[in-house]
C-alpha cells in the first residue's frame, strides 16, 4: 500500500462495491412486477450492506433481503391468483430503487475519476529526471 498505488487499490474496491450494488438494484427493478402465488413467498429485493475496508477502501459486508411477505394484491385475471383472486407482489419500492441507482452510478463515476487523477500523478512521477 506504499506510495500512490494505494489509490488504485482503494478506488478499485469502491468500483467493485458500487458495481455489486448496481447489479442488485438492477435485479430488484427487473423483478418489480414479479408476482407469486399467495402460498409462496414474494420476490425478495437484495439490499447490499457496505463497510469500510481495513487499510483503505470499501467492501460489501453482506446482503440483506426485503420482507418475504410482500404485499397481497387483488388480481383475479392472473393465472397465479388464488381462490380469493389474490396474488403476492414484491415489497420493492421503485422510487427507493431508482434513487439508490443514481447514488450507485454517481459513486461509480466518481471513483473512476479518482483513478484517472491518480494515473496523471503516476505519469508525472515518471517524468522525474527527464
Amino acid at each position: 500500500m506504499a506510495g500512490l498505488y494505494g489509490v488504485l487499490d482503494t478506488s478499485g474496491s469502491a468500483l467493485d462495491t458500487f458495481k455489486t450494488w448496481m447489479a442488485a438494484l438492477g435485479d430488484n427493478v427487473a423483478n418489480v412486477n414479479t408476482i407469486k402465488r399467495t402460498s409462496e413467498s414474494a420476490f425478495q429485493a437484495r439490499l447490499i450492506e457496505v463497510r469500510e475496508r481495513a487499510g483503505g477502501g470499501v467492501e460489501v459486508a453482506g446482503v440483506d433481503f426485503s420482507n418475504p411477505e410482500g404485499t397481497i394484491v387483488y388480481d383475479p385475471t392472473s393465472p397465479l391468483a388464488d381462490a380469493k383472486g389474490e396474488v403476492r407482489a414484491p415489497a420493492v419500492e421503485m422510487s427507493d430503487q431508482m434513487t439508490s441507482m443514481i447514488a450507485a452510478q454517481r459513486g461509480y463515476q466518481l471513483n473512476l475519476a479518482v483513478i484517472d487523477r491518480a494515473r496523471e500523478a503516476y505519469q508525472a512521477a515518471l517524468q522525474i529526471g527527464k
Partner: protein
C-alpha cells in the same frame, strides 16, 4: 541525498501521496453508513522542520478525522470538497516533479552536462 531542496521536495511528494490515498478512501466510502472522512496535513510539520533546520525526510503526515455531521444512514464525506482537494493534491504533485527536475537540471548544468 543530503540536499535540502531535494529532501524537502521528496517529503512533500510523500505527504501528497498520503493525501491522495486518504481522499481516495473518503470518496470510496461516500455511501458507507457511519464513515467519517479524514484530512491529511504535512505542510505545517514540513515548515517547522525547515525553519528548525531539521531534516525534512523525518516529516510525517498527520491524519485528522473531520468534524462535519454524519447524515443518517450515510457518511459525512463532502464529495465537492474531496474532488477539489484531489485536483489540488494532484497539481501540487506535478509541481513537485517540476521542482525536482529543475533542481536536477541545475545540477546537470553545474557538472557541465
Amino acid at each position: 541525498m543530503g540536499d535540502i531542496t531535494i529532501d524537502a521536495l521528496q517529503a512533500s511528494m510523500r505527504g501528497l501521496a498520503v493525501r491522495q490515498r486518504t481522499i481516495a478512501d473518503n470518496i470510496a466510502n461516500t455511501e458507507t453508513p457511519g464513515f467519517v472522512a479524514n484530512t491529511v496535513d504535512f505542510e505545517s510539520a514540513l515548515r517547522d522542520a525547515l525553519a528548525g533546520g531539521e531534516s525534512p525526510m523525518a516529516v510525517q503526515a498527520t491524519t485528522t478525522p473531520t468534524t462535519d455531521a454524519i447524515s443518517p444512514n450515510s457518511s459525512n464525506v463532502n464529495v465537492d470538497k474531496e474532488t477539489v482537494s484531489l485536483i489540488d493534491a494532484d497539481l501540487r504533485y506535478q509541481l513537485m516533479v517540476q521542482g525536482l527536475n529543475s533542481k536536477f537540471h541545475i545540477l546537470r548544468s553545474s557538472m557541465g552536462g
